[in-house]
């Protein structure tokens, strides 16, 4: 019978097609992102957040941020930023921390003394496919310059610089433990945090 032979061949083709899937080498299926993608992420400066923005979100007690101190533990125990937890750079890939780093609820902000170690931690996290991770631009050194010991701008400076300065002064008081500073004092330095654009997921329904 000619027809049943055609069906047999087609059935075998279909089964073969499905079986070929089983045999395909599965190297591309990995949670790590491809080097090319890592490259595009690296040249995107959107991961850097200014200490001023971070200070503002801390003052407003924004629940959606999590600071992570990537300095070694001995430095962490001496001092750190409010609410920060310690994940030293050398331990960033440990499984214990995956629950902390690989999540979608919070914006994670990495910091170190400068921004080099934090950026290295960021690159490794990004390679491992973690999302919503940011780096504090300039690290603690910049934090110190901006928030702890802000320098008054020269009188000729534009108005915006004075606004930033007054915000920093207020923030400085806030972080020095003077809780009398109300959050309304920070409004002058109100800067909207630019979140990285997220890809829209396919709509639900069927």
């Amino acid at each position: 019978m000619k027809i049943s032979r055609t069906y047999l061949i087609l059935a075998l083709l279909l089964a073969g097609l499905a079986f070929a899937l089983v045999l395909l080498p599965k190297t591309t299926r990995n949670k790590e992102i491809k080097p090319e993608e890592l490259m595009t992420e690296i040249i995107d400066p959107a991961r850097f957040l200014n200490p001023d923005l971070i200070a503002e979100r801390l003052i407003n007690e924004d629940p959606s941020i999590q600071l992570i101190d990537v300095r070694p533990q001995d430095q962490f125990v001496k001092f750190t930023l409010p609410g920060a937890i310690n994940i030293p750079l050398t331990e960033i890939s440990k499984e214990d921390w995956e629950g902390e780093l690989n999540q979608h609820q919070k914006d994670i902000i990495l910091f170190s003394n400068d921004d080099l170690f934090a950026d290295q931690a960021w690159i490794l996290c990004t390679r491992m496919g973690y999302k919503n991770i940011y780096v504090m631009k300039g690290g603690l050194n910049q934090w110190y310059k901006n928030i702890i010991a802000p320098i008054e701008p020269p009188e000729t400076a534009p108005k915006e610089e004075f606004e930033i300065y007054s915000f920093r002064k207020a923030a400085s008081l806030y972080f020095s433990g003077a809780n009398t500073v109300s959050t309304t004092g920070t409004e002058k330095g109100n800067i909207v945090v630019k979140k990285r654009e997220k890809k829209a997921t396919a709509a639900g329904g069927c």
């Binding site: 027809i3 055609t6 087609l10 083709l13 279909l14 097609l17 790590e32 491809k34 080097p35 090319e36 890592l38 490259m39 690296i42 040249i43 999590q66 533990q73 430095q75 001496k78 001092f79 750190t80 930023l81 409010p82 920060a84 937890i85 310690n86 750079l89 050398t90 960033i92 890939s93 995956e98 629950g99 902390e100 690989n102 999540q103 979608h104 609820q105 919070k106 170190s112 003394n113 400068d114 921004d115 080099l116 950026d119 290295q120 690159i123 490794l124 390679r127 491992m128 603690l140 050194n141 110190y144 928030i147 702890i148 010991a149 972080f175 020095s176 433990g177 639900g204 329904g205 069927c206």
Partner: protein, 210 residues
């Protein structure tokens, strides 16, 4: 014979389906790049002593035989043309994975030439350095002093600024900003966190059914 038993159209669409898949495989590019270091191996190579190079070491290198090192400038071509380290080559960070650039770097690496990456600051060079490192280029060093600082140094005759990642303030300067209650052991602070890992967490969709 009725249409329902005819298989000509079935053969055609099956052939189309298989052809699409075959075309897919023909045009499939094998990944050009593979990580040759795992994340853990990369972390080991990050120490600030072995694989980085600071200003004084760079000066020493420049004074030695010019055939054993190569400076790569990852800034944009405009900045490069304005000023750059002598004998350096410009490969902007975004083009580091271009075939000819990567092959050139790999060739240099195989010839045992030390590749030194620099940018306006260590941070700018860091991405390219780490990426190449993970892709298996071994004789690779990061210049921890940025080009900005280098030009400043020559103007002001300074010998060396601070080492990268050094703390520029005293502990006590920052100390008051820490709420003492936050001085907890990192292990216990972790337990307080209630964050669900991403593993099984899925998107919530609004449209329920149909």
């Amino acid at each position: 014979m009725t249409e329902i038993y005819k298989t000509r159209r079935l053969k055609i669409v099956s052939a189309i389906f298989i052809a699409i898949i075959i075309i897919g495989f023909i045009t499939l590019r094998t990944p050009d790049f593979n990580y040759s270091l795992t994340v853990e191996q990369t972390i080991k190579g990050l120490s600030l002593t072995e694989n980085v190079i600071n200003q004084s070491e760079a000066i020493k290198l420049k004074a030695s035989d010019g055939n054993t090192y190569l400076f790569i400038d990852v800034r944009n071509p405009h900045e490069f043309l304005t000023n750059h380290i002598e004998n350096s080559i410009n490969i902007p960070a975004s083009e580091i994975l271009k075939e000819e650039n990567f092959n050139y770097l790999r060739k240099m690496d195989q010839e045992n030439i030390t590749i030194i990456i620099y940018g306006n600051d260590a941070l700018q060079a860091n991405g390219a350095w780490m990426l190449l490192n993970q892709l298996g280029i071994n004789n690779l060093k990061l210049l921890t002093i940025g080009f900005n600082t280098i030009s400043q140094l020559s103007k002001e005759n300074l010998t060396e600024l601070y080492q990268i990642e050094d703390q520029i303030f005293s502990d006590s300067a920052i100390n008051p900003m820490v709420n003492p209650s936050l001085h907890v052991d990192p292990a216990t602070s972790l337990n307080k966190q209630k964050i669900t890992p991403v593993k099984k967490e899925k998107r919530t969709t609004t449209a329920g059914g149909c």
